[in-house]
């Protein structure tokens, strides 16, 4: 059942209907990412607004976040962005096995990032006693925003796993692979959001 090379469409070309439909889907997906970006921006605005009204940051009684750990975790996530990029490139160049390995690497790195975030949450909640609802605007903004981002990463990992199974079953061809393009775009989007979140929570 599993395939070992990228399948080709009959006659090696795609019909006009597919080309135009892909255009529509690509544009629709980009617009969806823009509106998702607005969702994050609104919460980021809320965070910065609340942070500005408070008495210094972090608020009294709450320790600074562990920058070094989060930085290593960020490297893991950005690394997964690189592997996802090469996965798509390898597909475009017809290297099926390299694509598969790069996709698997992306999934593993994404899962590692989530594990790291889980460890950080565990440390904050049980060692530092910082919680979502019980630590004022710090807990509210930190856990809401990083949690939203973590949820996006989780959805991404799920999606990429489906992508892996679909490719193994021969769903995508050398000519028709919009699912892979969309997954790559989404994964880069999640990366970029993390750049912003890391900057405003750990560096600012």
């Amino acid at each position: 059942m599993a395939i070992a090379a990228i399948p080709h469409d009959a006659h090696g070309e795609v019909d006009q209907l597919y080309v135009e439909t892909r255009e529509l889907r690509l544009q629709g997906f980009l617009l969806f990412l823009i509106s998702d970006c607005v969702l994050f921006s609104s919460f980021i605005f809320a965070y910065l607004y609340l942070r500005n009204t408070g008495q210094g940051w972090p608020p009294p009684g709450i320790a600074r976040l562990d920058v070094a750990f989060a930085a290593w975790n960020s490297v893991v996530l950005f690394g997964s962005g690189a592997t996802m990029h090469y996965a798509l490139e390898n597909w475009k160049h017809g290297n099926f096995m390299k694509y598969m390995w790069m996709l698997i690497a992306t999934i593993i790195l994404g899962a590692m990032f989530l594990g790291g975030q889980g460890y950080e949450y565990h440390h904050l909640i049980f060692d530092e006693k910082v919680t979502w609802a019980g630590s004022g605007i710090f807990g509210a903004s930190f856990f809401t925003l990083t949690g939203m981002h973590g949820f996006h990463v989780f959805m991404g990992v799920c999606y990429l796993t489906v992508l892996l199974l679909q490719t193994a079953a021969g769903t995508y061809t050398y000519q028709k692979y919009f699912g892979i393009t969309a997954g790559t775009l989404y994964w880069h989007f999640v990366d970029v959001i993390w750049v912003v979140l890391f900057s405003i929570f750990y560096l600012l």
Binding site: L17, L24, Q27, L31, S35, Y49, G54, A133, I137
Partner: protein, 559 residues
């Protein structure tokens, strides 16, 4: 033919299989025209419910001491009235309703870009509407349609339901915005350049990004309110370090653009109705088109003019005041262009035209009172008074709802194949117009006299004008009843419309009424603007549309 050949085999030539059976045809339909009608019907049903709430408010205010409902119920009634009218009536009718029904036809497309997504958008909408009204069963939200914290944090359980309902209807709006934007960008007929699009399409094109961007910001605000109410996560509660003003920023960052979501599509309707019934090209086509875009853009930079009394820094107050004044410029450009369109035209006073003219008068009035409220000094005085209620009802009822009725009398023929009765329509218009002004005009001086809004009782000195207003509101309701009777009567027994009863020139009038499920047998090619009434139609490829022959794709003659 070369243009058509370039599209051979693409979306323009692709016809969905004909829907079979009642459910696929009329319930879970993916046809944009059916979905548009579903939006209209659902929107008007919610309008009746929210209208009943409005009459409850006016009946309560017949007497200075109230007495019709308890003060607590009164709070719930006006909160749900406002929420429903904004999110369940005007926005869905203007975008999902008229947008779906008309603009894909106007750009010469067979459907929207994502028909299944369109069906999903629609079905979210009645569900969220039922959720909102069901909040009465558990204690409805009672802090006004704006649900400012900390009052909304202490509100009855229905407030949480309100959050969820508005969040859901927002998801529906966002999906519609994405769908419409892609459709307009990618699916226009050959030759339909941006500067040849009908102005109704421009209205939807300016609205779609607002739906997509602003609604998502509201989703964030609602999600935070939901989390705070359900899980106690402090965003807005000042006792836990949160800020109630944060809600106001996030809410108005959506809700001011939402004002333009509620008016730009109606500007589009007016821009179609006025030239058709004046038999004159629209004056300043590009000015009207681009001023819509300017309004959409500026609309994002003025939200804090709702917050002058919330303790905004003075330099920000001045900034937002000036930005708000700036919006009056593109709006004024439109109004002058519409008046110039009428100038010297051969005006045909159909019901649609009466509503369009009524729109012009009442919207302009509402726009001018808006400038009063944009000015910081007068706003500080008028903010909590009935002047504000008068102002936004002139814009949303005198403007948006008049536009909705103009669109109904104009396009009912296209959607049903029959004309709405003109006599009953004129009775509707005059009852509505007179009743509307009786209801909302006195609110302006009541506001100047200091009558506060959002209270169940009032000082006896305001008694006369409140009674006058309530009588006006009953007259207005009679007008709306005429409309519903007209719709039910005309669907069964209305005059047959034929393809083009108004002798209009946009593409939707060049095909049968109601159109076939595939819209066009052959996608036309467009050579110019649809407003030059003295010229031949600027389209080719429409020769077969009014004949009985099926499209080539279905007979197998194609390929």
């Amino acid at each position: 033919m070369s243009v058509a050949a370039a599209h051979s085999g693409g979306i323009a030539d692709h016809i969905h299989p004909e829907p079979q059976g009642f459910v696929r045809r009329y319930v879970f339909s993916i046809d944009h025209k059916i979905i548009g009608i579903q939006y209209l019907i659902t929107g008007f049903v919610f309008m009746m419910l929210a209208g009943l709430l409005a009459e409850t408010i006016r009946t309560q205010l017949l007497n200075a001491s109230g007495g019709f409902v308890s003060p607590d119920t009164y709070n719930e009634v006006y909160s749900v009235h406002g929420s429903a009218m904004v999110w369940l009536v005007i926005i869905p009718i203007a975008t999902g309703g008229f947008g779906n029904l008309v603009f894909p036809l106007m750009i010469g497309a067979r459907d929207v870009a994502f028909p299944w997504l369109n069906m999903l958008s629609f079905w979210i909408f009645p569900v969220s509407g039922l959720m909102l009204f069901s909040s009465f069963l558990m204690g409805a939200p009672a802090a006004g349609w704006t649900e400012y914290p900390p009052v909304s944090l202490q509100g009855a359980p229905g407030t949480t339901m309100w959050c969820a309902a508005i969040f859901l209807v927002g998801v529906s709006s966002t999906l519609t915005g994405i769908n419409f934007l892609v459709t307009i960008l990618k699916m226009r007929a050959p030759g339909m350049t941006f500067t040849r699009m009908p102005l109704f399409v421009w209205g939807q094109f300016a609205t779609a990004p607002l739906l997509m961007i602003a609604t998502t910001a509201l989703a964030a605000a609602l999600a935070a309110l939901f989390m705070e109410r359900v899980f106690g996560v402090p965003f807005y509660d000042p006792t836990k370090g949160g800020s109630p003003v944060l809600w106001q920023h996030m809410f108005w960052f959506y809700s001011h653009p939402a004002v333009y979501i509620m008016i730009l599509p109606l500007f589009g309707i007016i821009s179609e109705v006025l030239p058709t019934f004046s038999r004159k090209p629209i004056f300043g086509y590009k000015l009207i088109a681009f001023s819509s875009m300017a309004i959409a853009l500026l609309g994002f930079m003025v939200w804090a003019h709702h917050m002058f009394t919330s303790g905004l820094a003075p330099f920000l107050q001045v900034l937002f005041m000036v930005m708000t004044f700036t919006i009056a410029v593109p709006t004024g450009v439109k109004i002058f262009s519409w008046i110039a369109t009428l100038w010297g035209g051969k005006i045909h006073y159909s019901t649609a035209m009466l509503f369009a003219l009524g729109f012009l008068a009442l919207f302009t009035f509402g726009g001018i009172t808006g400038v009063f409220l944009a000015a910081v000094p007068t706003d500080l005085d008028l903010h909590g008074t009935y002047f504000v209620v008068g102002h936004f009802h002139y814009v949303l009822v005198g403007g948006s709802l008049m536009g909705v009725f103009a669109g109904m009398y104009y396009w009912f023929a296209k959607m049903s194949g029959r004309l709405l009765n003109e006599t009953l329509g004129k009775v509707h218009f005059w009852l509505f117009f007179v009743g509307f002004n009786m209801t909302f005009l006195p609110m302006h001086w009541l506001g100047f006299m200091g009558m506060p809004r959002w209270v169940a009782t009032y000082d006896p000195q305001f008694q006369f004008w409140n009674r006058f207003e309530s009588v006006g509101s009953y007259i207005m309701t009679l007008g709306i009843l005429c409309f519903f009777i007209n719709v039910i009567y005309s669907i069964r027994a209305g005059k047959k419309a034929g393809p083009n009863p108004w002798n209009a020139r946009t593409l939707e009038w060049q095909i049968p009424s109601p159109p076939n499920y595939y819209n066009f047998k052959h996608i036309p090619t467009v050579y110019g603007l649809p407003y030059d009434f003295s010229q031949p139609l600027p389209y080719t490829g429409l020769e077969d549309e009014l004949t009985d022959s099926p499209p080539a794709q279905l007979t197998g003659a194609h390929h």
